[in-house]
Amino acid sequence: MPLRDLPIRRKLMLILLLTSAVVMLLMRASFFTYEYLTFRRETMRQLSTLGEVIAANSTAALAFDNQDDAREILTALKANRHLVAAALYDGSGRLFAGYPASRPSAAFPATPGGDGFHFEQSYLSGFQPVTQREHRLGTLYLQLDTGVVMREWLWGSVQIALVLMAVIVGVAYLLSRSLQKQVSQPILALAETARAISERKNYSVRATKLGADEVGRLTDAFNQMLGEIQVLNRDLERRVLERTAELEAANGELNRSRAVFESIFENLPGLFLVLKPDLTIVTASDAYLKATMTTREKVAGQKLFDIFPDNPAEPDATGSSNLRSSLGRVLETRATDNMAIQKYDIRGPDGVFEERYWSLVNSPLLGVDRQVEYLIHRVEDVTDFVRHKPSADGDPDAMRIKLEQMEAEIFQSSQKVQASNQQLRSANAELESFSYSVSHDLRAPLRHIDGFAGLLGKSDGKQLSEKGRGYLVHISDSAKQMGTLIDDLLVFSRMGRSEMNLGPVDMRQLADETAQTIQRQEAGERKIKWKLGALPVVQGDRPMLRQVFVNLIANAVKYSRPREEAEIEVGLFDEKHEWVVFVRDNGVGFEMQYAQKLFGVFQRLHRAEEFEGTGIGLANVRRIVTRHGGRTWAESVLGSGATFYFSLPKNPGVKT
């Protein structure tokens, strides 16, 4: 397992152990080096001391050239078992005595070398001068086998090192065991919490904070993150719940509308069959199933011609092949195909075929890609028709005649409709030209009457009697009166004929404007107390509705003329389905028994000398209000004022 994959606990322990082992080894190495150097120095010093002692002891033997003594002295070196060789050279450099005695003289250096000791491989050897009173007698040679000593020393040193190592590693292990917990435990706790959360998806769990160090801060950050996740999670769950509920509702709605549409389709009065382009039956209307003596379960998903085969008893039957080619045409042209009446026998539940005749229409149902998605196969059972009209059955001529008769009838009735339309148009045109003639031709003679009466008065007036001049005035007045009547009648006729331009009309604004105009026309000669209430904005023809107010308010002003101060009120009743506007005055009023006559053309309840007018105003009001779909009526008590009402529907189905 690579180091980076080890658990933190192990990593920490390994680091600690490795660190202490390395430190120990380094220390041990330096210590060892020191010891080694000391050992060498010490060995050299010892050998040097030994050499001095032997040299001192050997002076006599050399001085007296006593080889035996010399050998004896050297033999004493036996005590030192590492001393492998020793030799004495006389003053002339000749080998004088050797140790051990068994060692051949050739094995010793032939002549003494320079004084002093030095290491040579695993041996320490060298030469020590033998002197007596500054007089050099000879030279002592010593050779020490340091290898064994060194090995012993080394072994001891290694042993110590091993023991130390064991102790140190052991202590370090124990220490690290307890210390690493300080570091690893919080991290492990955090990791454990994270694992628990990811496994159980419980974001309400919080990691325990064990200290204020980096891990502690990490824990805090982790907990904060958890809090945010918890909030987000809750939000998400809520949204999911909402969406789910919405989806379920939509799904329910979809299922309901699907069920409704299915039920609508199934209950359609016609005989319908829906096919896929491969002529698999999708569904059929109840009427179709009833007429073909089958059930929806039996046909759904089946091929059309498996369910409705030709009558095997009639080898010449063409029903299925004709239907097949009609459906093929629909698929190819993507257009409806009307088939001639077909004999297509139907197999009953008992397997027996019944004779049937059908009128068939096949239509495509195109998808968004303009490809045929379904085929609608609509049929009509004309069996009874075919059977009960034996004259037509099998007699195409009779059928054609019948058809031609029907076509002729249709043509005739459409001619009649066109004729009456034409009549209506010419009646309208006649009316137009009539009112044009009235406008132009009736007025001209009146103008002439008045004109020549005026001219006569001017030229011969003086020759006429008082009476005659009076007659001239009457002629003039009557002509003028008739001119006014004609003008009013034309306005009235136009009100009934002209096109209505409907739009929102502020009734209060109209009433205000009308009242102001009339007030101006009276030029301050009359005292009028106006009382205008709130009025609605209605849908209507503004100029026409203005005419209504003009007529009603002008009437109110006119018929309250005998009063010192006229009081005119315009107000509203807010009914359920209509607005009722009224114009009330404190004028002379009228007798209620004549209330119905008021709105007729040229109907007057007052003599012209009392109140001028042609009697067309209220007729206009009624005509305009009626064209707006409303009603008009009036109430009064003779001598104490009158109230004129008109209603306008709130939801206008305006008559035009």
Binding site: S435, Y436, S439, H440, D441, R443, A444, P445, L446, R447, H448, D450, G451, F452, A453, G454, L455, S476, A479, K480, M482, G483, D487, L490
Partner: protein, 142 residues
């Protein structure tokens, strides 16, 4: 110039103009065809010496060629289009008004039934068009 088929109307109009001494230079045409003949100096008016009229008072409803047709021909002819034309008619019908202005009539006057008002109207027309108004320069007409 007065274009009018009805004798009574001619009499009354001339009487009204006479009252204000405006009747002496009036040319009367009895229908649209005659009016066009006069304006184009053709037919019985071929080689007439007088210039174009200062104003034409034009009735609408006339036999042969109606007032509106006279107006249409005049206004579509650059030689006559600058002549002021006042429609003087009994008709108050909107289609007549609209057609007249669309064809370029300079004014539209409804003959009032009241003779005194008629006299006033004719006087105002006569004074305005024959006296107050500056007619278009002759070069523009001939």
């Amino acid at each position: 110039m007065l274009v009018e088929d009805n004798l009574n109307d001619i009499d009354l109009t001339l009487a009204a103009l006479e009252e204000h001494h405006l009747a002496n230079e009036i040319v009367v045409a009895r229908d649209g065809a005659e009016a066009l003949d006069y304006l184009y100096s053709r037919g019985k008016f071929a080689g007439r010496a007088d210039g174009p009229p200062a104003v034409i008072l034009l009735d609408i409803k006339m036999p042969k060629v109606s007032g509106l047709e006279v107006l249409r021909q005049m206004k579509s002819d650059p030689l006559l289009s600058t002549l002021p034309v006042v429609m003087l008619t009994s008709s108050r019908e909107e289609p007549d008004l609209a057609a007249s202005y669309a064809l370029g009539a300079n004014a539209y006057v409804v003959k009032p039934v009241d003779f005194q008002q008629f006299v006033d109207a004719v006087r105002q027309i006569g004074v305005f068009w024959a006296v107050v108004n500056e007619p278009p320069p002759r070069t523009a007409i001939q």
